[in-house]
């Protein structure tokens, strides 16, 4: 084959361009940290990359949701703890007051304390976190209990709009794909009519020095009733504790998932730096060799050797 200088030169240039294009590719890989810079570089990586990105976003979001869940549940737990203590205190007072040696005055002062505890329970039930009532289901803008002194100045509570507790809907938070967990504690069975009836019965018994009318609770009755109320609260708390455990488990799993998802994403589209740097260095050596060979090959012609 006849080879001319122009051909050699063109060939050399073509090859230099190709080698430079390769270098550019490895450079881009190194400074973007990605194997591909557009879908056509590798459609499969690109498509998977989009899926993994969504996955990472989702896991991050679920972890954020879990934080919100903790906020509710921790506060609810704290409130239930305090409510338990308040009812426990009432029960203790009832046991003391049942002791026949208590004078009327003493019973009245016990009554005063119970009234305070009752108010405290109302405040606990109406706890607001982040501006939300946490014991009224999704009706976070309304207090579950409305304290209203009646005409005798007697302390009364009404529930919801006045005719019993509002219907309670669970506050759901999605903490994993498709898994929604209720994070609220329903006031039903805890801060309900029964609790306040029991307290009012106790107050009534104390006020009348245990000489109550037929059908009204005596102090002894109150001990039992308050004990039941306390158990209700404890049960509610136990149930909440079980849910908290579940959130904790899921959260642990999410933390792992986040690492795995990010890792998968990196493995999918991230560049292997050792490989990219080695490739770049190899390419550089090739490029230098091509330059030096090119410089030699395009130099001499017959003219250089004629006199």
């Amino acid at each position: 084959m006849r080879i001319t200088h122009t051909m050699l030169q063109n060939n050399m240039l073509n090859n230099l361009f190709k080698s430079q294009a390769q270098m550019e590719k490895y450079f881009t890989q190194i400074y973007t940290g990605k194997k591909i810079s557009r879908p056509s570089d590798d459609p499969v990586i690109a498509m998977k990359g989009m899926g993994y990105r969504t996955q990472v976003t989702e896991v991050e979001q679920f972890r954020r949701n879990a934080l919100d869940a903790w906020n509710w549940m921790d506060h609810s737990d704290d409130v239930l703890d305090k409510a338990t203590k308040a009812v426990q205190r009432m029960e203790y007072l009832a046991v003391q007051a049942a002791n026949g040696s208590y004078s009327e005055d003493e019973r009245i002062s016990v009554m005063k304390e119970v009234e305070q505890l009752q108010e405290q329970l109302v405040e606990l039930a109406n706890t607001k976190v982040n501006g939300k009532y946490i014991f009224n289901g999704t009706n976070t803008d309304k207090p579950p209990i409305n304290p209203t002194p009646d005409e005798n100045g007697k302390y009364h509570v009404t529930f919801g709009d006045g005719d019993g507790l509002d219907e309670i809907f669970p506050v759901q938070i999605e903490i994993s794909k498709g898994i929604k967990i209720p994070i609220n504690v329903s006031p039903e069975g805890i801060f309900d009519q029964e609790l306040f009836d029991n307290i009012n019965g106790f107050i009534n018994a104390l006020k009348n020095d245990d000489n109550v009318a037929e059908g009204e609770a005596t102090i002894d009755d109150s001990i039992e009733a308050l004990n039941k109320s306390m158990l209700n609260i404890v049960n509610g708390r136990a149930e909440l504790g079980a849910r908290m455990n579940r959130v904790e488990l899921i959260e642990d799993r999410l933390a792992e998932q986040e690492i795995i998802a990010k890792d998968t994403m990196m493995k999918n589209e991230g560049v292997d730096f050792e490989e990219a740097v080695t490739n770049l260095l190899t390419q550089e050596v090739i490029h230098r060799a091509a330059l030096s060979a090119g410089a030699k090959i395009i130099q001499p012609s017959l003219i250089d050797f004629l006199r």
Binding site: M1, R2, I3, T4, H5, T6, M7, N10, N11, N14, R38, P39, S40, D41, D42, P43, V44, A46, M47, G49, M50, G51, R53, T54, T57, E58, E60, Q61, R64, N65, D68, N130, G131, K132, N136, G137, T138, N139, T140, D141, K142, D166, E167, I168, F169, V171, Q172, I173, E174, K180, E269, S301, L302, I303, L306
Partner: protein, 527 residues
């Protein structure tokens, strides 16, 4: 035999070698001229003496009378030209195709932290936050603005692609102009060649120029060059006139009679030999290409698309209408994005309708979340629960009422308490919901597969371009092997012809001395 024959012979040799030296000089001068083919002087011996005839002198054998330049021929392989042009049109096709896909990839910008997929993810996140805090006006406002960002991303993609599309149309118009100008130039050269060849000469430099133009033309489509002798008195080795026919990618004629861009087969009427190309719609007009005509004659079924080349790649990328259906890379992608925007928006609106917002002066049902820009002022439209088929990626936007009052976002389930966020969950689920209109995939997956398809197209275009590039370069290499000027060769020729010239001069000196002997030094006996 003439006394001075020897002088004549030497003179002819001097002239011939001089001609060869000049041709060598021409070759050297044009070593860097693109498309130049080296030229060679074909020496021929002149008619020997004597000629057989009645009065011929009686002598033994014919005697040579020297040399003359027969022809000056360019060295070129037409078969390689043919191969080169076939590959060149394929290369042109894939180059333009790849360019179009690459520009689309740049606009879509996936996978990245700024693409449509990420914008959707961010919108989804804001809905999750809203579900956690339905009473929080901050969370609501974020939903409204991220929804707007999603709509604006759709708008941006649509607009950017349309502007690339109109750029492609400009390229089509420029290509048509350029092709027609090339055809005219080729035809002009045909005319000039027709004036030169009948004199028994070879118009080497005009041939080169013409081949250069045909090479350029072959970038646009697959063409075949037919050759016709320019006249009866032209040399056998003359290139003659060229006619140019469009071939499909398999090398077949487009019609039984062939579609000719230049028809000089008759060798006559060269003034009307050019058949100009035109497209409908014409320059500066929009809309998909409906027809391509040659000399006003419409090509059937847009046959030009069968002839791979940058022209067909441009039309395929820009969009064309076939049997009333608009096809092409850009129109199809735009249609897919429109479909995605429409289906997603309608499903999102449907779920939004079912929810409850925070404003009381309303029946509690959500209005449309995404709307068509044109209907932004129409309250009946915005509150109706009908599907809106007019939403496209270009006109989608968020209901301005929601943007102005984020309480109108229907985050709650009407039956589940005053501040529930259940409908926000349902809205977030729309992203992964299979939608009928998208062929039973979710919007997210639909988009990912769009990107995947585009990637595959781009990858194919690049690979094809790269492999065709190699083939084309190899053929060009072979072509240059035949035609390119080698300086070493020319220098050695230079020496060869110089020696021949010197020797011829020496020959003349010898003859001169011979004659000198006869004229000046004979017959001096006894002087």
């Amino acid at each position: 035999m003439s006394t001075f024959q020897g002088l004549e012979l030497a003179r002819k040799a001097l002239f011939a070698q001089q001609g060869a030296l000049y041709t060598t000089g021409h070759n050297i001068a044009n070593v860097n001229t693109y498309g130049y083919s080296r030229q060679r002087v074909n020496f021929e011996t002149t008619t020997p003496f004597p000629n057989p005839s009645r009065g011929m002198p009686n002598r033994a054998g014919q005697m040579g009378t020297g040399v003359e330049i027969g022809t000056i021929q360019r060295l070129r392989d037409q078969f390689l030209d043919f191969q080169f042009r076939t590959e060149n049109s394929t290369l042109g096709y894939w180059e333009k195709k790849q360019e179009a896909v690459t520009r689309m990839e740049q606009v879509l910008n996936e996978p990245s932290e700024n693409g449509l997929a990420k914008t959707m993810d961010r919108f989804w996140q804001s809905l999750q936050d809203l579900a956690d805090n339905p009473d929080n006006s901050g969370a609501r406002s974020v939903v409204a603005h991220r929804g707007l960002a999603l709509a604006e991303t759709f708008n941006h993609l649509s607009k950017s692609m349309q502007s690339i599309q109109s750029d492609l149309k400009d390229q089509i118009d420029v290509s048509v102009k350029d092709m027609n100008s090339l055809l005219k130039q080729i035809n002009e050269l045909n005319k000039q060649i027709q004036k030169v060849e009948p004199h028994g000469m070879l118009a080497n430099d005009l041939y080169d120029e013409r081949d250069r133009l045909i090479d350029k033309l072959s970038d646009y489509m697959n063409i075949k060059v037919h050759r016709t002798p320019s006249s009866e008195s032209s040399l056998e080795i003359a290139d003659g006139l060229v006619s140019i026919e469009i071939l499909d990618s398999r090398g077949n004629s487009l019609s039984p009679d062939g579609v000719f861009l230049i028809d000089a087969r008759s060798g006559k009427d060269l003034d009307s030999a050019v058949n100009e190309i035109s497209v409908q719609p014409g320059a500066n007009e929009k809309g998909p290409i409906t027809s391509v005509s040659i000399a006003g004659q419409e090509l059937e079924n847009l046959d030009i698309l069968k002839s791979d080349g940058s022209f067909s790649a441009l039309i395929e990328s820009y969009g064309y209408e076939e049997n009333g259906v608009v096809k092409g890379l850009y129109p199809e992608m735009l249609a897919e994005l429109d479909k995605m925007a429409r289906e997603f928006a309608n499903e999102f609106n449907r779920v939004h309708h079912g929810g409850k917002h925070l404003e009381e002066d309303n029946d509690g049902n959500g209005s449309k979340f995404f709307v068509n820009k044109a209907n932004q002022e129409d309250n009946d439209y915005k509150n109706s629960t009908d599907r809106d088929e007019s939403i496209t990626a270009e006109n989608i936007t968020i209901n301005i009422d929601i943007l102005e009052n984020e309480n109108l976002i229907a985050a709650g389930d009407p039956d589940k308490g005053s501040q529930n966020g259940d409908n926000a969950h349902a809205l977030a689920d729309v992203f992964d919901q299979s939608l009928d209109g998208l062929g039973n995939t979710s919007a997210r997956k639909f988009y990912a597969s769009l990107i995947g398809d585009l990637g595959v197209k781009g990858q194919e275009a690049r690979k094809m371009k790269e492999s065709t590039e190699i083939i084309q370069a190899q053929i060009d290499f072979s072509r240059m092997s035949v035609s390119a000027v080698s300086l070493d060769e020319e220098i050695s020729n230079l020496i060869k012809f110089q020696h021949a010239y010197n020797a011829a001069a020496r020959n003349m000196t010898a003859i001169d001395e011979m004659i000198d002997r006869i004229i000046n030094q004979l017959g001096l006996v006894g002087r």
